[in-house]
């Protein structure tokens, strides 16, 4: 699909569909609706909530307009200011707005059709089919928007720097190891664990506050340190704080290595972001700055913040050159 087509679909066609779904049912059905329409239904499909016709129509139109505008915005960025990690955020946003937009649109359609031709909103019924249709349609729209957005930027526009391999003589074996640490995560995480301990001691486990704090604290400490090892087997990434939390990337799956200047905001924050299986890209983020990025088979990408990323990338490339 051409870049132009993608922008047209994401910036114009999908927003118009969303806006149309939100507004058209009201225009078409206006005369046949009661002055007060049923807007909420119980599990059995019977109406249990209502709103004045004009208010509900205006709210639907505004919500549709907002979702359409936000979705259109995701297509507006020029290729040269979109780097790959930003692209991930952009497609996630496109997916969310498409999902919400279509969901609200289908809700408009079902409210109008459920109230159509009635004198009293209490008689309105909602079939289970509508609920299924709304879910299927909005998930489908989200998937479509993400797919379109994923292809938005040409891959050349990025800060990635290729790294030449260190010379490795035949028969020579090499290993590189390094780490990245985040003091903020460790201090914050441990502080939360201590607070959780106090809460648990005072309140007990009822209420769940103590357990929630404990869990958040443990997750924070989990990502306070990351250790990276590169050897003839591949790249081993693991948490320096909690044993057993690791990512193993066999050399056979690695296509190339380079360094990137990673921006946590582009990944939506810190910790383990993304998913190699679901989004084909993932990053282990502890800080901003120099990171090792691995291009993997099947167009997947994995990045990890690590001090001395350039040396790590150099060894990966040297090992790759040695095997071929």
């Amino acid at each position: 699909m051409a870049e132009r087509t993608r922008r047209l679909l994401l910036g114009v066609v999908l927003p118009i569909v969303i806006l149309g779904l939100a507004v058209l049912p009201w225009i078409v059905g206006w005369g046949d609706l009661p002055a007060t329409v049923a807007t909420h239904f119980d599990a059995g499909g019977a109406a249990d909530g209502s709103a004045p016709r004009a208010v509900q129509a205006a709210a639907s139109a505004l919500a549709g307009l907002a979702a359409a505008a936000l979705l259109a915005r995701t297509s507006r960025r020029r290729p040269d200011d979109v780097d790959r990690s930003d692209l991930w955020t952009t497609s996630a946003q496109a997916g969310v707005w498409a999902f919400l937009g279509v969901l609200m649109g289908v809700v408009s359609v079902q409210i109008v059709s459920a109230n159509h031709g009635l004198a009293d909103w209490h008689d309105a019924r909602l079939g289970l089919g509508w609920v299924v249709a709304a879910i299927v349609a909005s998930i489908g729209a989200a998937a479509l928007a993400v797919t379109i957005a994923q292809g938005l930027a040409p891959e050349t526009a990025s800060s990635a720097a290729p790294v030449a391999g260190v010379p490795l003589a035949t028969g020579e074996r090499a290993v590189w190891f390094g780490h990245a640490r985040s003091k903020g995560f460790l201090v914050g995480g441990l502080a939360l664990v201590v607070v959780a301990g106090v809460v648990l001691a005072l309140v007990g486990i009822t209420g769940g506050l103590g357990l929630t704090l404990l869990l958040v604290g443990l997750v924070l400490s989990l990502f306070s340190s990351v250790e990276v090892r590169v050897d003839g087997v591949g790249v081993h990434v693991r948490s320096g704080a909690v044993p057993g939390v690791r990512v193993e990337l066999p050399l056979a799956e690695i296509v190339a290595a380079r360094t990137i200047d990673l921006n946590p905001m582009g990944w939506g924050g810190w910790g383990y972001r993304g998913s190699l299986r679901l989004f084909r890209r993932a990053a282990w983020v502890l800080r901003a700055g120099p990171s090792l990025e691995l291009e993997l088979s099947g167009g997947r990408r994995f990045a990890v913040t690590v001090d001395g990323a350039e040396d790590a990338a150099a060894l990966v490339n040297a090992l790759l050159a040695q095997t071929t």
């Binding site: 028969g171 020579e172 074996r173 290993v175 590189w176 190891f177």
Partner: protein, 116 residues
């Protein structure tokens, strides 16, 4: 840090490993408090016997560059970098003296002369 071993070179493997860790400490590429990988992992990665790595780590400990603790692993000691630089120079000096045929006593005298 990067560690390379070459089984084909005349130098024993444990000495190759120790020399590279020493150089990394001297060059500040690993600093005080940094942990070296567990001997078993390093041995696995380099395809050498674990005792080879343990011998290299043992030498570094004897030189006062690292601490070896059960469970905590091998940690680079404070001021390890300056000590490692000194050790490297001393090693070089000893090798050069041997090449020039100096005896130990002559070398010691030479150092005293410089110091005086």
């Amino acid at each position: 840090m990067l560690i390379k071993v070459d089984a084909g070179s005349g130098e024993p493997l444990f000495a190759q490993i120790a020399a590279q860790v020493r150089a990394a400490i001297a060059g500040g590429r690993v600093v005080e408090g940094d942990r070296l990988p567990p001997a078993r992992e390093l041995a696995e990665s380099l395809g050498v016997n674990m005792h080879t790595v343990l011998r290299a780590y043992g030498d570094l400990r004897d030189e006062g560059l690292v601490d070896m603790r059960r469970r905590r692993g091998v940690i680079v000691r404070a001021a390890g970098d300056t000590r490692a630089r000194l050790l490297e120079l001393a090693r070089e000096l000893k090798a050069e003296a041997a090449r020039q045929g100096l005896t130990k006593t002559e070398l010691r005298k030479l150092i005293e002369e410089v110091g005086g």
